[in-house]
Structure formats: C-alpha cells, structure tokens
C-alpha cells in the first residue's frame, strides 16, 4: 500500500512539475511571435535598408556593393535633396517654436483659473484627435484659392484679397507649418498646463513674499522650472517634423513642383515612384542617423535624470 501511494505521489509530483514548466513557458510562447515580428520587421529591415543603400538597386533589390556612391549622388548631385533638407530645417524650426510659444501662452493664461477651462481644453485638444491626413486635407481646402479662404473673402466683397500661400512655391512650406501648428498646439498646451499644475502653489506664494512681480515669477521661477517639459516638447515635435510625411502628402503632395518636399516624401518619391531603391534607402539612412543623433542624447539625459532623482 505504501508503494502505491508513493507511486501516486510520484505521478502527482511529475504532474505539478510539468504544469510549473508549462506555466513558466506560456509567457515566453505568448511573447515570441511579436518579438520575432518586431525583430525582423523593425530591426531587420533597418539593417536591410542600410545594406541596400550601399548597392546600385533600382526597382528591384540588387545585392552588389558600390560603396558610398548613392550618398555621394545624394549630397553632390541632387538639388531636390537640399530643398527637402532646407524645408525640414525651416519647417521644424518654425513648427517647434510656434507650437511651444502658443502652447505655453495658452497654458499660462488658462492656469490663471479662467472660467470654462474645460471647454478651452477640449477645443484646443480636439485637433490632436485628427490624423495628419485629415488635417492636411482640411487645410488644403481652406487654403485653396478657388475653394477656401480667398474665395470666401472675395465673395464677402473684398475682391482684391489674395491668399496664395499654398500655390506659391517659395512660401508653400509655411502653409505646411500652419497646418501642423494647428494640429499640435493643443498637445503642447496640455503638456504645459500639466507642468504648471505640477508646480507647488507655495513656491509662488514664497516668491510673492520675496517681492517678485507676477511677470518676474513666471520668467525667473515658473518657466525655468518647466525645463523638463520643454525638453520633452522639443523632442516630440522634432521627431514629428522629421517623420512628417502624411501631412505634406495630403496638403501639397510636395508641390508646387518639389518646393515642399521633405526628406520623408523625398525618400518615398525616389524609392517607390522613380524606382531608385538604393538612392531612396541612402536618404532614409541619413534620416535615421539624424533621428538617432537627437534621440540618443535625449534618452541619455533623461535616464541620467531619473537616476539622480529621489
């Protein structure tokens, strides 16, 4: 009888062991597919793109090796790349500066316990719920001379009124800036108001007793202590502008001509429309390096910050 129970116990024990092992395995099994997919599709294709950029691939990938030839062409023989780069520079500079300035101003005014704060917040945050495609399409109509603002004002009787931001190739990039600002200011506002609300009220009281005016309190104490928020804001807006593809496609398709091209639309145009895969890949790699050059120092300072904080 003793033997039998020990046998039964053995079986039970094995059962438990098996279940434990299964229990340990299940999370791994669950994670494996997504892990594999992201390993291959994200990191794998990054490597593949880098490789392709060193080949002479046209419509189809070709695995020869031509060194830095594509990069050479990109930087020395392709004026459109420089237009795209300059556009990115103008766009990101203005977009970031205006978004932050507007968002911060709105946040400061609304932080003065304005009545109906909830309504304002909803109004400002609403554009964020739209995709860049919708924003781009809406603004294309608004800024279209024969459909939107210009026609409306002319119909109101001001027949000399012109609004040709979207169709003049030397200013069309500013139309993209306007649409992007409209979309993202609300988010900046939300970011800054959260930052302002996080500041201890008694700091302001202490500054009042110390004799600082309201303006000085904001300039010397509150805005400087929002530094981490500024950092996040810049990083978020910067990566939005480098990735900026859908907005340009919907609003101008890079036109008139290629005057509103950005690196992302440039890459798309060459790699997929014109069948110069390797050349497109080279421009993509340059974008990748730019983003990394921004993100890595950011992550570094952020992580260092959390290590110091208590």
């Amino acid at each position: 009888m003793g033997k039998e129970t020990s046998k039964a116990n053995d079986k039970k024990l094995r059962n438990i062991k098996f279940r434990n092992r299964l229990g340990n395995l299940i999370p791994k099994i669950m994670i494996a597919p997504t892990f594999t997919v992201s390993l291959v599709c994200v990191y794998g294709f990054i490597l593949w793109t880098i490789w392709i950029s060193f080949t002479s691939s046209k419509i189809l990938p070709k695995y020869d090796f031509v060194g830095f030839e594509q990069y050479n062409i990109l930087f020395t023989q392709e004026p459109r790349w420089w237009v795209a780069s300059l556009n990115l520079f103008i766009f990101s500079g203005l977009f970031i500066a205006i978004c932050i300035a507007l968002g911060l101003t709105l946040a400061i005014f609304i932080d003065q316990r304005l009545r109906g704060e909830g309504v304002f917040r909803t109004i400002y945050l609403y554009p964020m719920a739209l995709s860049f495609i919708v924003t781009g399409t809406a603004w294309r109509w608004i800024m279209n001379p024969s459909l939107g603002l210009e026609r409306l004002v002319q119909q109101l009787g001001f027949s000399d009124f012109t609004f040709r931001l979207l169709v003049e190739s030397n200013v069309a990039i500013y139309a993209v800036v306007i649409a992007a600002v409209w979309q993202s200011t609300g988010f900046m506002f939300a970011l800054f108001i959260a930052g302002l609300r996080g500041i201890d009220n008694s700091i302001i009281k202490a500054a009042q007793i110390d004799g600082a005016s309201l303006k000085k309190i904001y300039l010397r104490i509150i805005i400087p202590s929002l530094r981490p928020v500024f950092l996040s804001a810049v990083i978020i807006l910067l990566h939005l502008s480098i990735k900026c593809f859908d907005l340009v496609m919907a609003l101008t398709s890079g036109g008139p001509g290629y005057s509103t091209d950005m690196p992302a639309t440039f890459m798309y145009a060459f790699a997929f429309n014109r069948g110069r895969l390797a050349f497109g890949a080279a421009s993509a790699v340059i974008m990748f390096i730019t983003v990394m050059a921004i993100i890595i120092p950011y992550l570094y300072t952020e992580l260092k910050g959390t290590r110091n904080a208590r």
Partner: protein, 374 residues
C-alpha cells in the same frame, strides 16, 4: 521685531466661513504657536497675516501700522512653508538671495548676508546645490535661511517640521527655539502637533473650526484648559474624561468612581477655586490626566487630595519610563501612568492612587470648564 495685533478677522471661501472672528495680540519678540487639528484654518490665518489672501473683515496691525491693504512684499514678514517651497531651478545661494535681489539690495551686501545666514544654519557647503540634490532636513534649513536672510519683523512658519522624520523633527525643534532666543524676532508658528506647540511656545493659541479656543502660556493651557476641546487636545496621552454625577456625602461634594460590578469609590472634589454645590445631582465630566492616576505619589501619606481606588487592569502599554495601564471607571476607558514595577497583568486587580488637586470639571452640555477659569 514687531508686535502683531489681529482684531476680529473673518475669512470666507465661497459660502464656507473658515475664520470666524479671530483676535490675537502678539507682543514683539514673542514666540506664538498656533495649534489645532487639520482644516481648522491655521494656514488661512497665516496667509492672511502674510497678505497672500485678503480678509473679509477685521484688522491686522504689524507694529503700529494697519496692513490690511499692504502687499505681502511690503509687510516686512518672511514665511517658511511646509513643503519648503524652494525655487527648484535655482541653487541654494540663489534661493537665499532672490528676495534681496528683488529688493535691490547692493551685491556685496547680499553676499555678506547669504554667507552669514549660511554659516548660522550650517549650509555653507550646500550653496551651489539645487534643491533636488538636498535631503529633507537640508531643504528645511535652506527654507529657514531664505526667511532669515530677509531679516523680517515677523517670521511666519507653516508646519515647517511636519515633513521631517521623527528624530530630525525633535532636533530641528530645538534649533528653532535656540534660533529664536538668539535673534528675538516675533514668530507665529503653525502646527497640528501639540508637543511641538508645548515645547516651543511662549504662548499657545489653540484653534478649532476657525475660532480661537484659548490663548495662554503652555503651562496654563495644560493646567487650566478653558474647555473640553483644549483639555483633550493638549497633553499626550490625552486627558481622561469620566462622566459622573455630583453627590453630597457627609458634608463633602464629590463624585463616584465605579470600577467594577461591586466596587465603587467616593472621590470628594475640593478645589479652592471650584464650588460644586450648584451641581449636586447633576451630570458633569471629570477631567483627570493620566499622570494623576498612579501607583503612588511622593509624600502621599496623609495627603487629603490623594484617594485610593481598586481597578481591574484591561491592557498594558509600556513606554519605558512609565507603563500606561488602561482600566474602566464609570464604563469609560481610563489611562493611568504607573511605575513599570507596580504594573499588574491584564485581568488582575490593582490599587491606584488618584490625585485630585488638579482635577477639572466640565459641563457636559456647553463643554466649558466649571469654576474659575483663568
């Protein structure tokens, strides 16, 4: 240093009246502690004195000047906040000098003041650090330093120690007291901790629901509380409140302490400042502090004020120097402070001595003290 005179101050937030007619007269270089439970309006009163909120009615005088309509920066006060409220973007040195800079004090004078204050509070090595790089105690010092640097007529402290751990709190308490003895600036200090109030104050103002209950020296507040609230709030462990009926027995007026089914003791109440003849056959509340019920007193033989009772021990709480014994008197839990060697085990009977020389009697309806209240 300056005196501070507050006359019938009222403050409403919306329809809620937070301060209901506060009057306090504080002398120059006095250390006054404002104590009361959370939410009773202490911070509000301090903010009104500082000018950070406007009063609805009443008058605030600093020295001889009415300051009702004077800006906070022109009231010549400095304030230390519970959260320290250091400017997070500035280093310690800047934190100390900011108030001087806005007042356009010459640069070399600012430097001198900052060095002096930093030396006094032993924070000289921290001058270049940001507040985030300081410990709680160091931040507390910097916050005090910022107030000191301004050399104001009045210091306002709003629970400055309540974010520190227990040991540091006791140390800083002593330091604040020494600081006051040295600089002699008028201080209004808010706390919810009655021990802090007792140890620091020249005079204590006890506040409840926006009303000052009593404003007196720590000893007076302890020995002669004006009502049940003050009696219960000051002192730890708190005073025992025993409901009793006043009776007359052989020419003596007194009360019965019933400690068990069959044990009860007559305790005559005799205080020169207290006559209970009008209260015979009426209900009162007897207030006895834990240290007035003990296992024995020095020179107790023949002392007419000390009475013996027998009680059943319910629970023991050793504190080290004394043991707290919980017993039942008139169906109320009563704390007694006895010598650890005399303490009996729970369930056993124990002989206790009650010293009634400082016993207090309260009216259960009005909650006020009966007798000559000082």
């Amino acid at each position: 240093m300056a005196s501070l005179t507050i006359t019938d101050i009222r403050k409403k937030f919306g329809s809620q009246e937070v301060l209901k007619g506060i009057s306090l007269s504080i002398n120059a270089s006095e250390f006054v502690v404002l104590v009361g439970p959370s939410g009773c309006g202490k911070s509000t009163l301090l903010n009104l004195i500082a000018g950070l909120e406007t009063i609805n009615s009443g008058e605030i005088k600093i020295g001889d000047d009415v300051v009702n309509d004077v800006q906070p920066k022109d009231r010549n006060i400095a304030m230390v906040f519970q959260s320290y409220a250091l400017y997070p973007n500035m280093n310690v040195e800047k934190n100390l000098s900011f108030g001087l800079e806005t007042r356009k004090v010459p640069r070399d004078e600012i430097k001198k003041t900052v060095d002096h204050v930093a030396n006094m509070l032993q924070i000289s090595e921290l001058l270049k650090r940001k507040p985030a790089e300081l410990s709680g105690g160091q931040r507390q010092r910097v916050a005090m330093g910022r107030a000191l640097a301004r050399d104001p007529a009045i210091f306002l402290f709003d629970e400055p120690l309540s974010n520190l751990d227990a040991k540091l709190r006791v140390d800083m308490r002593t330091e604040i007291k020494m600081l006051h003895q040295r600089i002699k600036t008028t201080i209004v200090y808010v706390t919810h901790d009655q021990i802090e109030a007792m140890t620091l104050a020249d005079r204590i103002a006890i506040m409840k629901d926006g009303v000052i209950q009593q404003f007196d020296t720590p000893q007076q507040v302890y020995d002669n509380p004006s009502n049940l609230f003050v009696a219960g709030f000051i002192g730890s462990p708190s005073m025992n409140f025993i409901p009793c009926t006043v009776i007359k027995q052989n020419e003596d007026t007194g009360v019965i302490f019933k400690t068990g089914e069959e044990t009860s003791f007559f305790i005559p109440i005799k205080r020169t400042d207290l006559s209970l003849t009008e209260w015979i056959d009426k209900d009162v509340i007897i207030g006895v502090r834990p240290e007035q019920i003990a296992s024995g007193f020095h020179l107790q033989e023949g002392n007419k004020q000390i009475h013996e009772i027998m009680c059943t021990v319910q629970v023991l709480e050793p504190t080290g120097p004394d043991t707290l014994v919980f017993v039942n008197i008139n169906d109320t839990k009563v704390t007694c402070r006895v010598n650890p060697l005399d303490a009996k085990q729970p369930g056993e009977n124990m002989k206790l001595m009650v010293d009634i020389s400082k016993v207090l009697v309260f009216d259960p309806d009005t909650k006020m003290r009966i007798g000559n209240v000082a």
